[in-house]
């Protein structure tokens, strides 16, 4: 049984150009993906391929134009605000830019405390904050709690953000290019952290990226997206070794390969 599934999901943006002309931009074109419990899947594609639209549609920041979304095999496409709120307790999203996703006017503590308050956390909130900060390897927690986002590095911010999403205790985590804005040196740490979280907390993770190198490190299965369509799907290693679709081949060739000689 799949945890999250989309069925012919489409999203068309209407972009007004000039006064009368309007252009339809198909961001998602009959996308079918499936996420099973405790799975870490990747969605790969170049920028503009619709990856971020897919992520935002899955958390209802966008409404799909057509198609359905199933959560635990229940069709949730038509959910309204109250039910969406409930649904979002199960699914959280990590944004690409850790410099924009934390509120510059609030401390680290506030960022993690709010979700705890909102889910009406039963235990000691104070201890829970420390626990979460420890989990994302921000040690010692007391050192970070009263810091403002601008006092932290990009990697630290992304960890704080991860702690914020984990505070909601979701079943699914969507990570939309979580490391693309970070230094290469901290990327591995964050990715390992994702993997560790999946193993420890039994989360399902959708990892969205344009970077084939990182996707092969952590994911079990991948979907390759191009122009809003899924062009290839399957086991990560298989696809990277034997791509069948022309676009996937291009993508693999374009990725920097440390072993390939020019």
């Amino acid at each position: 049984m799949s945890l999250l599934r989309t069925e012919n999901l489409s999203k068309i943006f209407i972009s007004r150009r000039g006064l009368l002309k309007s252009e339809n931009i198909t961001a998602l074109d009959n996308v079918n993906i499936e996420l099973n419990e405790r799975e870490l899947i990747g969605i790969v594609g170049a920028s503009g391929s619709g990856k971020s639209t897919l992520a935002k549609t899955l958390v209802f920041l966008y409404r799909p134009t057509s198609g359905n979304i199933y959560f635990n095999d229940k069709n949730i496409t038509k959910y309204k605000s109250g039910k969406i709120k409930k649904y979002r307790k199960n699914i959280q999203m990590v944004f690409q830019d850790p410099y924009a996703s934390l509120d510059p006017n609030h401390t680290v503590e506030w960022h993690i405390k709010r979700p705890l308050v909102l889910i009406k956390y039963k235990g000691n909130i104070n201890e829970r904050i420390n626990e979460l900060l420890n989990m994302v390897t921000l040690n010692p927690p007391e050192y970070y709690r009263n810091k403002f986002p601008h006092q932290l590095s990009g990697g630290q911010r992304q960890r704080v953000y991860l702690a914020r999403t984990l505070a909601v205790e979701p079943k699914i985590l969507i990570a939309d290019e979580p490391v693309s804005m970070l230094d290469v040196s901290v990327r591995i740490d964050i990715l390992n952290l994702l993997k560790m979280i999946r193993d420890k907390l039994n989360l399902s993770i959708i990892y969205i990226t344009h970077d084939l190198n990182t996707v092969s490190m952590i994911t079990d299965r991948i979907y390759v997206m191009h122009d809003g369509k899924i062009v290839e799907k399957g086991n990560t290693i298989n696809i990277i070794k034997n791509p069948t679709d022309a676009y996937t081949k291009e993508l693999i060739d374009a990725a920097p390969n440390p072993y390939k000689r020019i």
């Binding site: 958390v59 920041l61 709120k85 979002r88 307790k89 959280q92 999203m93 944004f95 830019d97 924009a100 996703s101 934390l102 509120d103 510059p104 006017n105 609030h106 709010r114 979700p115 909102l118 889910i119 000691n124 104070n126 201890e127 420390n130 007391e142 009263n146 953000y161 914020r164 999403t165 505070a167 909601v168």
Partner: protein
């Protein structure tokens, strides 16, 4: 461990709260325009407070010879009615400031509420509220003041301070609402707001906890703009003669000076002091308005003067 933690936090809390008051002020003083405006305005406020207690003569009494030019006894001379101009100026500062500030505060509150909810609400509500904002922007405020004032005169009432503040708030809130609306529209798309929606914050909570804080410099800047409108509006109301002309403020002083044709009869000491006090007050509001704008909008901040002689490279400094 737990006990320790709690102690630690309570210690941390104290400087943090103190910071909350000091920090905005510090920010204010980093900008030269805002600093100048702040100094002038503080001076005005002190002038206004002192004026309630230490006027040299009773500003209401007609006890001197009329139309006396400035002298040691009357540093700004007397009016045609024999009132001491300086005492009136001194005493009238507080009500003038109070009207300006009240209009600023009430108007800003309304525009925060209307503007932010328009920018953050559903699309349909947004367009309706935007329409209402535009109506209030389009209608010339002076016309509405005239109409209201004349109706009040009709029922043998003049606009006292409260109705004046009310009408100025009605005609003056929309400018800020328009600003807040467009700023909120752009902030609502930022990731940190989306993130709060994802973790289940209500819109109201996001408005109060995050958006208002994010646009705080703009709110302050707008407060000074609305306060300026309020002060200017008070002088309009008084000039048109629909206000209560027995009250003493800089607006009524101008009304009496103008109605007695002080500018024709050479009583410059009667008409110029209130005019200049009003414009200095307005000037400080404008300085603070633009200073806060520059603080809120980093691209307007000063750039390092030490630029290349060729003028190509601008080094950005935080100032």
């Amino acid at each position: 461990m737990n006990h320790n933690l709690f102690k630690n936090r309570s210690i941390n809390k104290i400087p943090f709260k103190f910071n909350k008051i000091i920090k905005p002020l510090k920010i204010l003083l980093t900008n030269n325009k805002a600093k100048a405006g702040f100094i002038i305005l503080t001076g005005m406020i002190i002038f206004g407070i002192l004026g309630q207690f230490f006027t040299p003569y009773n500003p209401n009494k007609y006890e001197f010879a009329g139309s006396m030019p400035p002298s040691y006894a009357h540093i700004l001379g007397t009016t045609v009615y024999g009132q001491d101009v300086f005492s009136q100026l001194f005493y009238g500062a507080a009500p003038t400031l109070l009207v300006g500030f009240s209009v600023g505060i009430i108007g800003t509150f309304i525009s925060i509420f209307v503007g932010i909810s328009a920018g953050f609400a559903s699309e349909r509500l947004n367009s309706i509220v935007t329409g209402i904002i535009n109506i209030f922007l389009i209608i010339p405020g002076v016309l509405l003041i005239m109409l209201f004032g004349s109706y009040f005169l009709g029922i043998h009432e003049s606009l006292g301070y409260l109705p004046t503040i009310l009408i100025l708030v009605i005609t003056g809130w929309a400018f800020g609402a328009r600003t807040f609306r467009s700023i909120t529209l752009s902030i609502a798309k930022r990731d940190f707001i989306l993130s709060s929606m994802l973790i289940g914050e209500s819109r109201l909570s996001i408005m109060f906890r995050q958006i208002i804080r994010a646009i705080f410099p703009v709110i302050i800047s707008n407060f000074f703009f609305t306060a300026m409108y309020g002060t200017m509006g008070l002088t309009f109301v008084e000039y048109l003669g629909v206000g209560n002309l027995l009250q003493i403020n800089w607006g009524t002083m101008l009304y009496w000076a103008i109605n007695n044709e002080a500018y024709l009869t050479g009583l410059w000491w009667w008409i110029l002091p209130p005019s200049f006090m009003i414009s200095i007050l307005m000037f400080s509001f404008i300085l603070l308005n633009f200073g806060m704008d520059e603080i809120g909008n980093p691209s307007l901040r000063r750039f390092n003067r030490k630029k290349n002689k060729k003028g190509d490279i601008n080094e950005f400094t935080e100032n």
